[in-house]
Amino acid sequence: MITAGIDMGSKTVKVVIIRDGEIIGKAKTLAGFEAGGAAEQAFAQALDEAGIAIDDVEAIVATGAGRKNAPYSTRDITEVGGDARGVIRLFPSARTVLDVGAEEGRAIRCTEDGKVLDFALNEKCAAGAGAFTESMSRALEVPVEELGPMSLKSTKSIPMNAQCAVFAESEVVTLVHLKTPKPDIARAVHDAIASRIVSLARKVGYEPDVVLIGGVAHNPGFVDSLERALECKVIIPENPEFIGAYGAALAAAEA
């Protein structure tokens, strides 16, 4: 059976097409101001990669913050449900899912059959999310993708106070002016985000295995900080940012 999942994230739209649980097509586009269009575009690309036509897709489920504006979908599930489903299918041993997206941080505790036992989301402040690293990279004048590797060079931990992503910039600027080595600042930034995510993880009472998904999972510096704070290794799937959409596609296959 062929089904699809569309993850309408705040920054990007992800589409995954699966046949009997196996991913046969996937695509990601920037949500921009016209998320619906972005989704159609991503969907077309995914169909392309899968080499099938839209009519071959039997069911489509949407997830993500903007799921109500998703095209094609017949049903929708929440990000929490999508994440849990996707992760458990890939890693049945997973008991805790951490999802760090552009603006959202999520911690989910679930059973071996993907049932959600408890979940926690970041509140009014966007600290502990991808957006944080972006503004920091600007303050440091270091491209986002280099921030991670750079921070790995540091062995020093400096506490950061600011919660607010943008306000934290001035703290970074202060550190810069104090001639703090950039790697140390980069690590401080990752430690700050990690500690917010770990707070969420502790709230749901995380247990191994812990799986990390979402775009920020590509950042080795963040992963390092996270593992240090969690005092355990985390599993990262091949395409961490697609897991929500994958979970939605699985949900589509259920009904």
Binding site: A129, C164, V166, F167, S170, T174, V176
Partner: protein, 292 residues
């Protein structure tokens, strides 16, 4: 990719003046979190300045700014009798003789730029927003600064310029091109305000309306800060956002007081105040030297 938040860097000097005739030549260097200015004062008169973006290496930013301010004037650092550093990087101005906070400097600078009747100075800078009350000499009598949240700062506005792909200089003007004032954006967190704005754009709001919603939210936050210290006439605005008519106008409407019209680039107030302080300190230094 175009960086719409990047405002234009530039320099200026008074070609009509021959600095060599000057007695007291002093400079102020304001290394802010977002922008840096170097400024030279000759016998209490503004002579030249540069205005550029702060790099991640502040001593370097200070040197660059200073060098650029002197460019084409024939003046070198050695010609300058006293240098005062201010701003976040004030302690990292390698060639400065003293560091003074931007709070004192902005008050002094505003006093020069707008006259001695100024009692309340609002400095809307890159990372923070300050309200300063001062006396007729430009001496600080009270002040307040925003904490913990970047809403109401230049940085927040830059984030928006980027989001909407509009050059930062045009943001304010555009935000006024609305038939009626929309509800201000509700999020104080700039990141969420950004996604809130994205939502509005997705709903088909024109950019001007979204900007209006953000500018009025920003203006409102600044007003609450102003009210903490209390506004006394005359009222002047310094710093980057002072150039943003969209914020300034809404702010004036809300407090019911017009800000004095800017006579100089509002961003140089800090460096100007520093240079003027430098002149007093130079005179004092020379006086003491002559004693011995």
């Amino acid at each position: 990719m175009v960086e719409y938040w990047r405002w234009k860097e530039y320099r200026w000097h008074d070609e009509s003046k021959d600095w060599r005739k000057g007695e007291f030549i002093t400079a102020g260097v304001d290394v802010g979190s977002v922008s840096s200015q170097a400024l030279v004062v000759v016998d209490g008169e503004l002579y030249s300045f540069s205005n550029m973006r702060t790099g991640s290496d502040s001593p370097e930013s200070a040197r660059k700014a200073m060098a650029w301010a002197l460019e084409g004037t024939g003046m070198t650092l050695d010609d300058i009798g006293f240098v005062v550093g201010t701003g976040y990087g004030r302690v990292n101005v390698p060639f400065s003789n003293k560091a003074i906070t931007e709070i004192a400097c902005h008050a002094r600078g505003a006093n020069y730029m707008y006259g001695s009747s100024v009692r309340t100075v609002l400095d809307m800078g890159g990372q923070d927003c300050k309200v300063i009350r001062c006396d007729e000499k430009g001496k600080v009598t009270a002040f307040a600064m925003n904490d913990k949240c970047a809403a109401g700062t230049g940085r927040g506005m830059e984030v928006f310029a980027d989001l909407l792909a509009i050059p930062i200089e045009e943001v304010g003007e555009l935000s006024l091109q609305v038939d009626e004032e929309p509800e201000p954006v509700s999020s104080t967190c700039v990141v969420f305000a950004k996604s809130e704005a994205t939502g509005l754009l997705r709903e088909g709001w024109p950019k001007s309306k979204v900007l209006a919603a953000y500018c009025s939210a920003m203006a409102h936050r600044i007003v609450t800060l102003l009210e903490q210290v209390g506004i006394e006439k005359e009222f002047a605005i310094t710093g980057g956002i002072g150039k943003n008519i969209g914020v300034v106008k809404r702010l004036e409407d809300e407090i019911g007081i017009k800000a004095l019209p800017p006579t100089y680039d509002t961003q140089i107030a800090g460096a100007l105040g520093a240079a003027l302080f430098a002149q007093n300190l130079l005179k004092k230094k020379l006086a003491e030297a002559s004693k011995t």
